[in-house]
């Protein structure tokens, strides 16, 4: 059994949260609220150390006074708390949303659309048995068909009847397959976390398994 008080704290909190499997109870609610509080408290010194000091205080000490412009703009967010002046908070939001949108449009065009299309297109080399193994050739064709049919399924400007309906149906099969894979993956991730917690309780805390 561990002699480290931190391990005992962690074990107690782990058991508090697991107690929810029985039903909602004061131990679980205590841990739940402690988690929220500790997370909020954790963020403050880190924001101070990693953002406020290097990005605001140090540049201002080096006479980079133009940073007062975004700082003052940001302070207008606080006007949200005074109903009479709440409209002032639109200015920092406009700056963040406008520049954010301007950054997002070409980036999503490049990474979200062109790169994905490029990765889907079939080239001669991708279909040549002398260069690519058969299993990958089949895969490349499956991928091409899958992307097209999935896109057709999500194209709602035309009715999904006749040929379009049949193609969209293939798209549904692809989507269900992807959901199945994602679900399996997520469950596995959760199960490995669960194993990790049991390992902590039985090995680090109680020491009953090696």
């Amino acid at each position: 059994m561990s002699h480290d008080p931190w391990v005992w704290v962690a074990a107690f909190l782990t058991l508090c949260i697991f107690s929810f499997l029985y039903k909602d109870n004061p131990f679980y609610r205590f841990a739940e609220h402690l988690l929220i509080g500790a997370t909020l408290g954790y963020a403050l010194p880190l924001v101070w150390k990693n953002i406020v000091t290097p990005k605001i205080i140090v540049p201002l000490q080096h006479h980079e006074y133009w940073l007062l412009i975004p700082l003052c703009l940001g302070l207008l967010y606080i006007a949200r708390l005074i109903p009479k002046y709440a409209w002032l908070s639109r200015w920092p939001m406009a700056f963040a949303l406008g520049t954010g949108s301007g950054i997002a449009i070409p980036l999503s065009l490049q990474a979200g659309i062109f790169k994905q299309m490029q990765g889907t297109m079939l080239t001669k080399a991708m279909l040549s048995p002398s260069i690519t193994p058969t299993v990958h050739i089949i895969g490349n064709i499956v991928m091409f068909v899958g992307v097209i049919t999935t896109l057709i399924y999500f194209y709602f400007s035309i009715k999904h009847t006749g040929t379009v309906g049949k193609v969209a149906r293939i798209g549904v099969w692809y989507i269900m397959l992807a959901f199945g894979a994602t679900f399996g993956y997520t469950v596995m991730a959760r199960v490995s976390l669960l194993i990790g917690r049991f390992q902590f309780l039985l090995h680090d805390w109680l020491g009953v398994i090696k």
Binding site: I17, G74, I78, F95, G102, M176, A178, R190, F200
Partner: protein
């Protein structure tokens, strides 16, 4: 002015950032870095709103002695104690602050997520009845992915080469559907960003005066 000004700033900010993307010059890159710096500085005061919001909710709960008000005190105590520890004793490795993170925050987060494993399994048991061919496909793929990722699956289905099959499923048909969905998301980001820039989407202006 209360609405038109921020809308103009939003449009100009967006256009400037789009133009910047297409200028392959050092100055353009520096300008981009400076705008990102401004966005970070501008966003810091927004934290005040977030913290005010959560404190306001819980303070009201304590003041009016609503059900579970004692748990709200835990939030206040946790935020203050953890933040003070971080500010006074630092946030370096092996500090008390990092111990709190490792043995309290991370422990509770991991346990919370591992708890979801139980609920996902129970939800899957209730809802994953193979009623339609599509649901059957989802179920089969989920099981194949789960078994293919653990040593027991590899040894039981040795002839099927389950890990290779899982790899192929994830790499081709799964990726095809993810790409189809990703292309839609990319187009969606572009459309929404354009709507914000052009002032068609004005939800962010809120209701704080004309």
């Amino acid at each position: 002015m209360r609405r038109a000004g921020p809308l103009k700033l939003c449009l100009i900010g967006g256009i400037v950032m789009i133009i910047q993307f297409f200028i392959p010059h050092r100055f353009s890159k520096n300008f981009f870095d400076e705008v990102v710096h401004w966005l970070i500085v501008c966003g810091v005061p927004a934290l005040v709103i977030g913290y005010y919001s959560i404190f306001h909710v819980h303070w009201t709960k304590i003041r009016r002695k609503r059900e579970g008000w004692g748990y709200s005190i835990i939030i206040f105590v946790a935020v203050i104690v953890v933040a003070l520890i971080g500010f006074i004793w630092g946030v370096g490795e092996n500090s008390v602050f990092m111990k709190i993170y490792q043995y309290m925050t991370m422990t509770m987060q991991a346990t919370m997520f591992s708890l979801l494993g139980f609920y996902m399994a129970s939800a899957a048991f209730r809802s994953f009845k193979a009623r339609t061919p599509e649901a059957t496909l989802l179920l089969i793929v989920a099981l194949v992915v789960m078994f293919g990722r653990v040593p027991i699956g590899e040894s039981v289905f040795i002839k099927l080469k389950l890990p290779n099959l899982v790899e192929w499923i994830l790499m081709y048909p799964n990726m095809a559907a993810q790409r189809g969905i990703g292309l839609g998301v990319g187009l969606g980001i572009m459309a929404t960003s354009l709507k914000i820039m052009l002032g068609i989407e004005r939800g962010w202006l809120g209701g704080a005066g004309k």
